[in-house]
């Protein structure tokens, strides 16, 4: 490195000041102006987090939000070169730390997971779309699904209810299917039950519905194979209408 210790120190002190608001005595800058750098840098980070987490921002009192963002930016070295990806680091940071805030808002991690997943699904790179035919046999043909999806599980219904009104009594097992529509690029979410997460995961592995149902039969409270099929197929048809199930495999 050609850089001398002192030059490096100055750069490090200035960057550190922008991250922490702590001004080193040895930093040789105009003290009447350097605060603009802290302000400008912090605003960029804060804006980016607000736009990624509008629901969390709305839930937390402004002071708590501000403290959280300041703490994150001071303690965490952001790695994303693309600023739209930086908010994921905020989520990971919150997950990794025990905090009084999370005790006060037990649904916080779920809410952040929900909000980040929406950004991620909207922005992520295109997946290769497999070829498929639109007509087929629900039971005996392999179904082809939209490759741009995620299934999330929550302890709190952050995808259904305004976070402000969610209480301890809402705690349970919730599942959410999120996917990106090919034509519009819009992200769609669907609340699904646990059994459908298993079915979708198996469909994704190109297992035929008949085989999925056979494997599940013993574990579920259905009177018969027929009643299972009668329940499941309409739901799958709905997923096809919405553009999650694309069609059937061309054998």
């Amino acid at each position: 490195m050609n850089l001398q210790k002192n030059t490096y120190r100055q750069q490090s002190d200035l960057a550190n000041y922008c991250r922490t608001n702590i001004l080193s005595g040895s930093l040789k800058v105009r003290k009447d102006r350097v605060h603009h750098y802290r302000r400008l840098v912090f605003n960029v980070v804060d804006d980016s987090l607000r736009s990624a987490y509008p629901l969390l921002n709305n839930l937390l009192p402004p002071k708590q939000w501000d403290l959280l963002v300041k703490e994150f930016f001071a303690n965490h070295a952001c790695q994303s070169t693309k600023i739209w990806q930086m908010p994921e680091e905020f989520y990971q940071y919150v997950i990794s730390k025990e905090s009084a805030l999370k005790k006060k808002y037990p649904l916080m991690e779920d809410l952040m997971k929900f909000e980040w997943t929406e950004v991620e699904l909207f922005m992520m790179e295109n997946e290769a779309y497999p070829s498929f035919k639109t007509k087929g046999d629900w039971l005996n043909d392999v179904m082809i699904i939209n490759p741009e999806y995620k299934i999330l599980s929550f302890a709190y219904p952050v995808h259904i209810k305004n976070a402000k009104y969610i209480t301890a009594s809402d705690k349970g097992n919730y599942f959410l299917l999120g996917f990106r529509e090919k034509e519009t690029g819009k992200v769609q979410f669907m609340d699904i039950s646990a059994i459908y997460t298993v079915i979708i995961e198996n469909i994704a592995k190109e297992i035929k519905l008949i085989d999925i149902i056979n494997a599940l039969e013993g574990q579920l409270n259905f009177d018969s194979m027929d009643s299972m099929v009668q329940q499941i197929v309409p739901f799958l048809k709905k997923l096809k209408e919405k553009g999650f199930i694309l069609g059937f495999k061309v054998e």
Partner: protein
């Protein structure tokens, strides 16, 4: 109308830009960081824009002034992006936005010192070797010098000369710095290696204190900056000129008026009909 004046492409106006035809830039400029490694809606929009307009790239995260090593993974992504969209100019800021392995997402001023010149020139050379093209380095606005041992002008000159790179001359930044640090903008312009200018930026700013202007890109270009542009372009060969507008985006007609105004100035100052200058035309759209 020539194709020398471009616009910084923003998501905020993409819909109207593509559908209305109110804004007719000669080319567009984008930050690779905002458009690479994405898919879905924005990828589709970006594809439409790049099919219509020539694209130049102006980076945000390279952090050429960082103390630490270059991020080669990132540079590989930039290189692929440049190739994919056939980008003729990739520029970056003479500043740093990453330090101690942490990105800051804004531009911090580098100490004007001899060792920083060596360090940064070397980094520019490495980037140019890797990308197999010259890059253009932009003079940035700054609000305080940091442990400076020389003037900004000496610093820029030495870097451009040692790194053998091009200069992205931001005329608004010259104006802002001249105001903030009380020097003469015209003298500053004449002190720059004008033969190395390959690209020009124009933007608006905001005066926040009696003696301080912040480079916001959030307002129209002011008359005094147009004057400085008019003056400067008499001494620079024809190069692409970009209007930067990142915040408070007005009606597209207003941006087009600014483009027209820049066009009028260069039509007088540059002999754009002359065959020998045509090779610098950025966009034959």
């Amino acid at each position: 109308m020539n194709n020398y004046i471009g616009i910084g492409f923003r998501k905020e106006f993409s819909d109207e830009f593509l559908s209305s035809g109110k804004l007719k830039p000669g080319f567009i400029e984008v930050a690779p960081e905002n458009w690479m490694g994405i898919g879905g809606y924005w990828k589709k929009i970006f594809k439409q824009v790049t099919e219509k307009y020539l694209v130049l790239a102006h980076g945000l995260s390279l952090s050429i002034g960082s103390p630490e090593d270059l991020d080669w993974t990132f540079l590989k992504q930039v290189k692929d992006f440049i190739k994919e969209y056939d980008i003729q100019i990739y520029s970056e800021h003479l500043s740093y936005s990453k330090c101690d392995n942490a990105h800051l997402y804004d531009l911090l001023p580098v100490p004007f010192t001899e060792d920083a010149i060596k360090h940064i020139s070397n980094r520019i050379k490495h980037v140019q070797d890797f990308l197999e093209m010259k890059i253009a380095i932009e003079n940035v606005s700054y609000y305080t010098p940091v442990a400076a041992e020389m003037t900004e002008l000496e610093f820029i000159n030495e870097i451009v000369s040692e790194a053998d790179c091009n200069l992205l001359l931001d005329v608004n930044n010259v104006y802002v710095n001249a105001f903030n640090h009380k020097y003469n903008a015209i003298e500053f312009i004449h002190g720059l290696p004008l033969e190395k200018v390959s690209y020009i930026h124009m933007a608006g700013h905001e005066q926040v204190e009696p003696d301080l202007i912040i480079d916001t890109h959030g307002a129209n270009v002011i008359e005094l900056v147009y004057d400085l542009f008019d003056y400067t372009t008499r001494f620079v060969r024809p190069v692409p000129v970009l209007l930067e507008r990142d915040f408070n985006i007005p009606d597209l007609e207003v941006l087009q008026d600014e483009i027209n105004k820049l066009n009028r100035i260069i039509s007088i100052n540059w002999d754009l009909q002359n065959e020998s200058t045509k090779k610098h035309i950025p966009a034959a759209v």
